[in-house]
């Protein structure tokens, strides 16, 4: 019955917009997607709203989203930081670590991925296997020997042990880009070679533009993974003035005394902003992939 009633309503629209049923579908799409997004977001909202509650109220009123009283002092308090270090310092440290790591990981990974995907050389299978295997050993057991290596080089209490390894490629990103490159028709390479491009020229002029979506994806992941990375800063950074956000957030909490939950939630929200921003900026490159890869 309903369907019958709705169809005539859609008719006049069809006359005006000249796209039958389009709007109806569109609204359904937005309704479903939007509602679903909201459901997914409930926990985030909870986090956001908790940041406006008093520390002692966060759990007492956990079931309610509406802060009562609504306070914003958590943000001021959290921003003051801990033991004389402003939260700005922690954000600055995170940005340095994450910025360099991301640039290093994306550039080196794309080079390596091209080597694996397009060039057939002796020992390729072996090195590829090495790369995969290096991801399969739990970090807990390699962490002590690694720590000793960095101690020997004299890199402890600096950003170097966290940043530098990223410049030698990241297995996840390498494999990701390999998969994307292998999906690019080889004819493009050959056309470029006929035009006189060398290996690097093919990589730079043909492949790189085509794997922008994969690179954007890698950049988003790298940024976020390094942003939330806790274990490496815990191991390698000793001085509080070098702590990144992930480590600093935990300084608000203690199981034996009253914790500053409000400040922790407030600063969690603040520390989400750069990650969201980066995501929003880079996800457009994933979309734009459509125009470039359409050139087949």
């Amino acid at each position: 019955m309903k369907a019958l009633q709705e169809t005539p309503q859609a008719e006049p629209r069809q006359l005006r917009i000249d796209k039958p049923k389009f709007n109806w579908k569109k609204w359904l799409y937005h309704l479903v997607t939007g509602a679903f997004a909201l459901l997914m977001l409930y926990p985030i909202l909870w986090l956001l709203m908790s940041s406006f509650k008093e520390s002692s109220q966060v759990f007492v009123t956990a079931h309610s989203l509406i802060p009562d009283p609504f306070i914003i002092s958590n943000y001021a308090q959290g921003w003051e930081g801990i033991a004389g270090q402003s939260f700005g310092t922690f954000i600055k440290n995170s940005l340095i670590i994450v910025g360099f790591s991301t640039i290093g990981a994306v550039i080196s990974s794309s080079l390596i991925a091209y080597g694996f995907a397009r060039i057939s050389f002796k020992g390729k299978a072996f090195w590829f296997a090495c790369m995969m295997v290096s991801m399969m050993l739990p970090h807990e057991v390699v962490m002590i020997p690694q720590y000793i290596i960095f101690a020997k080089i004299g890199w402890l209490n600096s950003f170097l042990p966290i940043i530098v390894p990223q410049f030698f490629g990241h297995a996840f990103f390498i494999f990701l880009m390999v998969q994307f490159i292998r999906n690019i028709p080889i004819e493009l390479d050959e056309a470029a070679r006929i035009d006189g491009c060398g290996r690097f020229g093919i990589f730079y002029k043909v492949i790189l533009p085509l794997i922008v979506p994969a690179m954007a994806t890698a950049a988003i992941f790298s940024f976020y993974w390094k942003w939330e990375d806790l274990i490496n800063p815990v191991l390698y950074l000793n001085s509080p003035e070098k702590y990144p956000v992930s480590l600093a957030l935990k300084l608000f909490l203690d199981s034996e005394t009253a914790s500053n939950w409000g400040a922790m939630f407030a600063m969690s929200v603040v520390s989400l902003l750069p990650v969201v921003l980066i995501f929003f900026l880079f996800q457009r490159y994933i979309v734009e992939g459509i125009s470039t890869s359409g050139l087949k």
């Binding site: 033991a83 000793i148 191991l235 909490l253 199981s255 009253a258």
Partner: protein, 435 residues
Amino acid sequence: MKKVVLSLSSLMLAAGLAGCGNDSSSGTSGETKEGSSNEEITLRVAWWGGQPRHDYTMKVIEMYEKEHPNVNIEAEFANWDDYWKKLAPMAAANQLPDIIQMDTAYLSQYGEKGQLEDLTPYTKDGTINVENIDETTLKGGNIGDKMYGFNMGSNVLSVITNDDMLKQAGVELNSENWTWDDFEKAAIDVQKATGKYGTNPMNPPDVFFPYYLRTQGERFYKEDGTGLAYKDDQLFVDFFERQVRLIKAEAFPTPDVSAQVKGLEDDFIVKGNAAMTWNYSNQYLGFAQLTDAPLTLNLPPEQAENKALFLRPSMFFSVPKSSQHKEEAAKFIDFFTNDVEANKLIKGDRGVPVSSEIIDALKPELTEDELKIFEYVESASETASPADPPDPLGSAEVMKALKDISDQILFEKISPEEGAKKFRKQADEILSRNA
């Protein structure tokens, strides 16, 4: 192949274990020897805790630096979890800070494996002034005759009560000489009258079961740490049967309920969900800040007869063997322990101070709640007997086994009798390695 691998890896480890101390990134001026007090030196000090502790400890450090202009202190702090993750690789690579905050649970691991310096000489020669510290308290961090940790403060077990809820249930506690049965009855009465839990879950069991044993004149670990001291499994059965009865009466939370507590802020007593809570005395302050209900610190049941209570070292300061500045480190510990102005900032955060002089000097400075804790510890120390020695090697495993078995009993997957046997078997297996 095996040989190559073997030598390569032992080389690696040897490199790590043997004197990395010199290329420590802390900027310690490598060659500096202890003693001459005018040389510029850098001390690394590490501790765990929450924000208030980080804040005031930094201020204490500033005070120290002002008095000792040649000493530059680098603070390294983290919360409990991260702290121990940091410390283990540091120890493996000989990179430990000069002063490390230490817990009883880890003291024998770090001490007996040769990481920590014996501090006894520094207390003997007066570098650390121990005149006002009671002998038993001072030796709280001793393993055998080696002082691997300098005791920073004392906590005492307590039962904190919400007096409104007790009144509502018509329960009157005589905390000087109440029995375990009184406790059980009180918990059930509260449940009947209010519908809430009578008590918090007495979790973790490795704190409260040993206390129960002490009230029965028994001990948990053998003195030398090679096995369980108590012989009669009926003690284990009695302890857990009481909890099972309380759970059946809905007066005691099941383990899943207690696992949902996220912090002091939603603890049973704070949210008014339980009338009694088993805790160390220092937690009273947090509870009192977070709830408006009238709270009292009570001595736990049956403490008097067998002198079951003890002063538990809240934490220690330890100095690693690898430190280049042991004497300076000891001086800092002395300052932390004996300086009145510094302790006006520290107050009871690291347990009630060990120096009687400091306690007297602090009393006028304390808030009402802080004073209650100090007085409670004082009154308890009158009937207390010496604490058990620091947990033996392997205690972390024993504690985990006890927790697992306790959960199985409280979820009624196994009977207390089965649990008792299972626990003895596992604990003996673990501890026999120390023999």
